[in-house]
Structure formats: structure tokens, C-alpha cells
Amino acid sequence: MAKRVGIEVSIAVSDAVTLCDVDVVAAYPITPQTHIVEHLSESVANGDLNAEYIKVESEHSAMSCCIGASAAGARTFTSTASQGLALMSEMLYIASGMRLPIVMALATRTLSAPLSIWGDQSDVMSVRDAGWIVIFAENGQEAFDMTVQCFKIAEDERVLLPVMLCLDGFNLSHVIEPIEIMDQEEVSSFLPPYNAKYRLDPHEVLTMGAFAMPDYFSEIKKQQDEALKDSYTVIREVWDDWGKHFGRTYTPLQTYLTDDADIILLIAGAFAGTARIAVDRLRAKGVKAGLASLKLWRPFPRDDIIRELGGAKVLTLIDRALSPGGGGGPIASEVRACLYHQDNRPDIVSYVAGLSGRDVMSEQFEEMIEESLEYSQKGDIPPYEMYGVRE
């Protein structure tokens, strides 16, 4: 039976990984992810988890070990953040190109400089094109549930791709929440043992990660791109299946009061919870506001965005990452591009907010929504704005 407990979200993720009975964990500690791998190390040391815990000298090595372990058919997990993700970025492309179902929890944190340990989503956005499935958790329960789901998605033979689960550093990783922790029987009934379709095996030789000449490379990349796009179907199946088993159903774009909304605010991750309060307040004031919490970043849920957001008059898009010298935030750029071909497309107001742990309170989300309406009414919308920056 599932048990509802007050638990730090990092520990809950770590417990989920233990319940998934992973074979190999290779990880290097980095704030704000440390508690996840620290607790996993304890689980292995005290015998709760029968896994190989490889202590490595860097994140580059962590991902390299995961690639080797996964290629040998092991269920494999790692976790990192920020500079750690940057250091392993070379290997991220190899993991996805080799189609290895590694699961990684990313406690999202800003990239230096200036040196900062605080949270935003600039790390995950820096590896947008690494070919991983990227999922955002909004709260502790989602972080727990999605950890289990990630293995099921990654290991599905129609997918065979690595999955990155993003949980906002500190805002999620370090908070204690009431979380329903499933028991071993429940998790095992949902997630069967991993039986790799392709694995390095001395009795059945094959070569992985081989060299491809220019006359083969494009076809391999197209195959990978199609697999990533098609993983959408499997992700939906897994999320629906989870709903049937445990009563919590996830969707790529979780919407709140959007049906009749004139203005919808879209954001990924933990701040969506705060933004929901702003929407409630605005509704009480008679503003037809709604909220969309983006759970799936890759594959990009284009159809969901067009269907759920395309009908609004105004969209307020929030990014916790900046694309310096570009068009503001990466989420805003992609949502704007995907609505471009729609008739009567909404006015789009893009904000970069919550960089490096700067809190965004519900009043501030309210202000952004109201300001977006004003911009739209005036017909004068800035390309993007860094919210709250001192002028």
C-alpha cells in the first residue's frame, strides 16, 4: 500500500529510483542535486538497493559509466545539475545517439558566471538539442511519480532513448512535501524488469556507437529524430497507465481554467504552483486568466500547444532561462514559432523571470498577466522582458 509521508523531494526521487530496482548508479555530487545521489549511496550501502554504485571523478565520467552500463543492459540512473550537466554534455549526445535508456534527474540550476548555486532552468535549456526526452516535474509527487514513469518510457522498445527529469533546484529538490510513496509491489507491477533488446554480450557480438560515414549519418539522425517524436505516444500511454493504476494522470500540458480564458500563462516546473494562485486571484477580479504547466519539453508537444493555447487572445510565456542575444527565453521562442501558422494567433508576451533563484511571488505573476493584457491592448509588445530587473 502506498504511504503518504512528509519527505524531502530529493529523497523521494531517490526512493523512487530504489523502488525501480536500478542496476547501476554512476554519479558525482553537485548542489542542488547532492541529496539524491547521497541517499542512493546510502540505500546501496545498507542493502536496500542491490546496485553497483560507481563513484566517479566527474560528471563526464558519470555519464560515460552510465553509457557503458546501459549498453551492457543495465537499468541505469544518474543525477546532476548546472556545471555538472555542462561537463557531461558531450556524453549526453552519445547516450541519445546510441539510443540508451538512461534516466537522469536534473535538479535545475543556473550556469555560471557569475558564480551561483541557485535554481533556474538555464542548464536544461543549454542541452535542448542533445536528443533526450525532457520532462518537468511541478511538485514533489510528480517528481516521485515521474521518476518511475521515466524508466518505463525510456525502456519501451518503441522509444529506447534517455530521459531527463527536471525538478527545480531548491524550489523542489530541497523542500519537504507530503508525498504518496508507492510500495515495492505497486512499482514492480507498473515497471517490469528491464530486458534490453540490444546489449553488449560476449556470446552475441555486436558493435555499438560505430562510426558513420556522411552517406549514413543523416539517415541515423532522422531515425533518432523520428523515435524522439514518436516517443510522445508512449509517454501518453505511460502517463494514462499511471493514472489507471494510481489515480494521478499527467498530460504534456496541464491546463487550469484555460477553456474560456482570454489570457493564459505558460510556465514549466515548480513555479506553476505559485502562478496558479495568481490565476485564482485574477479570476476573482473578473479577469479570464488560465494557466498551462508544461510537463513535456522534448518531444515538443506542438499539437497540445496549438490546441490548448491557440484559442487565447494573449499568452504570457515565462522562461527561467535567457537566450542571450536571442529572442528571450527558449520556451517562448518555440511556442511562438509553433503558433506562427495559426489563423488568429494569440498575442505573445515573453518574460524571463526567476533567474538564479530569484523568487517570483504570486503577486508578480498577477502583475505579468495584467501587464501582458495592457501590452496587447496597446498593440505594442516588446520582444521579451527580463521581469523585475532593476533599471
Binding site: G97, M98, R99, L160, Y198, V205, L206, T207, M208, G209, A210, A212, D215, Y216, S218, E219, I220, K222, Q223, Q224, E226
Partner: protein
């Protein structure tokens, strides 16, 4: 390229199921300079064989060290290392 596999038919993730299949790929095509040998100077010491990074030197039926031009990329290490000056490089066009 029409006879090559499509993205649908190509092996998953570029997997290769046949062991030792790189033998089929003749890297000698890459060569712009070719090592040649003056048999009179060769003392069969085998240094070229030891230094060759591509294992493209073999011992012929008379015990001399000869170049396997199917795989020799023409790096010139054998010519540089030969202690007797028995190996020299010539341009492929010659």
C-alpha cells in the same frame, strides 16, 4: 546512394551485427602518399612493422616487410622510422 539503406531500414542506432566487418572498408583510399621500399637497403629488422599504426605491414613470402596498400593510409611513419632509409614516400599520382 540510392542502393543504401533508408532511415527506416538502416540498423537501429547504427548497430553493427557482423564482427570484424571493418575489414571490408579499404582505408587505403585515403592515401595521398605511398610508401615504397628499396629492397637492397632492407635488413628485415621489422621496425616498420612495429611502428605501423594501422597494422598495414606484413611479411611477404621471402621474409621482407611489405605494405598492404588496401589499408595503408600513407601516414609515412614507416619511412620516418626505418633505420636504414629503405622506405621512401611517393605521391600517389606518380
Amino acid at each position: 546512394m540510392a542502393d543504401l539503406p533508408t532511415w527506416k531500414s538502416i540498423n537501429h542506432a547504427c548497430l553493427v551485427f557482423e564482427p570484424g566487418s571493418t575489414v571490408e572498408y579499404l582505408t587505403g583510399d585515403w592515401r595521398s602518399m605511398r610508401p615504397e621500399r628499396t629492397e637492397e637497403k632492407c635488413v628485415k629488422c621489422g621496425e616498420c612493422w612495429m611502428y605501423c599504426p594501422d597494422a598495414a605491414i606484413y611479411i611477404d613470402e621471402r621474409g621482407y616487410y611489405a605494405v598492404d596498400y588496401d589499408y595503408c593510409k600513407g601516414c609515412g611513419i614507416c619511412a620516418k622510422e626505418c633505420p636504414h632509409g629503405a622506405i621512401f614516400m611517393v605521391e600517389e599520382c606518380e
